[in-house]
Subunit: 310 residues, 2 copies
């Protein structure tokens, strides 16, 4: 594929579609939404408002870090604190589909439609990629960012039209485009991170306390595996607990699963054959997180497992 | 320790204690209860009645296999089918302590006290070892077979006295004794298996269907790791489920944890550093069990984890 031509075509397409109107987009810090942000700003400059929603589900220091990167690129990003809204919407929910639905509803129906209204934008730029569409239409998993493919008329429902410049690309294509747009390696080489963020890394209820546990585990896994060359690595907090023994007393503790995979496009994957020294050092650090007494490594390829648990 | 002398002392002790009365013991097929069975029969012969209770929690073909071994040793074992009693007692219970309690109650208060009464036995021979006593009194885990240490007066409560010939030994000592008693390697070298059997390998409710899943996983793990030289290896069925993908469709599947440890006496343990080829072959077979789409390997040493989950 000629990515230089792809970039020019998408910039022209966005410019022509938006015309003299305003557009808005939400940046998550992932490579998809980062590329859309840069394409959009190259196409329509100040007509595009980019927001970053702190939904309480982000990794440690992530909101400030991502906003800082774009500030240095000359792109202004508005940080919206919506932590309380999301935590309230997620309270008591354990079913994975309901969890995704609560995040989608809070984001689109409540928060984003209000932000769009306030901004006066008529267009939403969205980082949907081909794999999102395929997995959603195949019924494998409901990606939070698929709307028109599910028959939702965004213009009628939310008052804006959706522009999806990346919907013909897979993850490797998006990374190519990101590099050609001179995005920093911190973004272009960033491992994939799911739309529902750390909520996708919690089996069972998402609470501030449980987010803290999986956030601490995520810091450890990302530090330990940054040099692994793996396609993606993550930590999952299970809902189950297991018997353990600490200071000679019985303890009923949390279980963290570490997943690290080899893949080219996330459609299929295999577990990375990490060295035992690395596995042991990850386990040792993770079982020092308060209340955690088990660390498991996921051996399963995709299929039959998916990359995420929720 | 002089194990030859230990054996002679225990045989004399059992003979003297039981006198002209009858005794009974329950054989599980583990090395502890197997040694007690042989010591008891050498001490008092036909005065000892040995039963094997099929509690529905056993591994595949285990009841028939164990009874067959003792028949070949010239020791008669009565196989008691109590599958329904145990499954009924366990229905709806998810708390690990309540699960152990339900098994203890069903075994001692109901089934065994009836069997003792029918047999006219005044003594129960029991395979308690030192580690069981230590872990129970330390409050780490309630071993199902500790009675007097918990202050239960078995004579008043159940009508019999308990004789514990192995209560000064740890697992390695029991194995030494087993070898000197010429027990077959199938029993002496058998990996440890918990009192609550496969119920200790199920997080959440114990049902016939869930037992079938963990039983199938146990066959695979024991076949694959028989030559590993590890101290113990096991499969655990979690209560949590995870998203997967099978025949291009979303599937919400079961999760099996494989645990394999190095240890000398079960007081401390580390995860065995299995070759990746072995881990992958175990995972491949386990995810072919109907409804299972994840296979995890437990990296955690003891402490902070215990060997079992329940």
């Amino acid at each position: 594929m000629n990515y230089e031509k792809f970039i020019q075509e998408q910039i022209a397409y966005i410019k022509k579609t938006v015309g003299k109107e305003k557009a808005i987009n939400a940046l998550s810090g992932g490579v998809d939404s980062s590329v859309v942000t840069v394409l959009g700003h190259r196409a329509i400059g100040q007509q595009l408002k980019t927001i970053f929603v702190d939904n309480a589900l982000m990794r440690k220091d992530e909101p400030e870090r991502v906003v800082g990167i774009f500030t240095r690129l000359g792109i202004n990003v508005e940080l919206v604190n919506a932590r309380k809204e999301f935590l309230t919407a997620l309270a008591g929910i354990t079913d994975p589909e309901h969890k995704r639905q609560a995040i989608t509803d809070t984001f689109y129906s409540k928060l984003f439609s209000r932000l769009v209204k306030e901004s006066g934008a008529k267009f939403l730029l969205h980082g949907t990629i081909l794999t999102d569409i395929e997995e959603t239409t195949a019924g494998i998993k409901r990606q939070h960012n698929i709307l028109s493919q599910l028959g939702i008329d965004t213009e009628a429902a939310y008052g804006y039209s959706v522009i999806e410049p990346l919907k013909t690309l897979r993850k490797d294509g998006v990374r190519e485009v990101a590099r050609m747009l001179d995005l920093p390696a911190e973004l272009t080489e960033r491992i994939p991170f799911p739309g529902p963020a750390l909520a996708a890394r919690i089996v069972g209820e998402v609470t501030a306390e449980r987010l803290d546990i999986v956030r601490a585990a995520t810091v450890i896994v990302e530090e330990e595996l940054a040099d692994s060359g793996a396609f993606q690595y993550l930590a999952v907090l299970l809902n189950d607990r297991a018997t353990g023994i600490r200071n000679n007393k019985r303890e009923f503790g949390h279980i963290i699963v570490v997943r690290c995979i080899e893949s080219t496009d996330a459609r299929t994957a295999t577990a990375t054959q990490l060295p035992w020294e690395k596995l042991n050092s990850i386990c040792e650090r993770i079982t020092r997180i308060k209340g955690v007494n088990r660390c498991l490594y996921d051996l399963t390829p995709k299929p039959p497992a998916t990359v995420e648990y929720v």
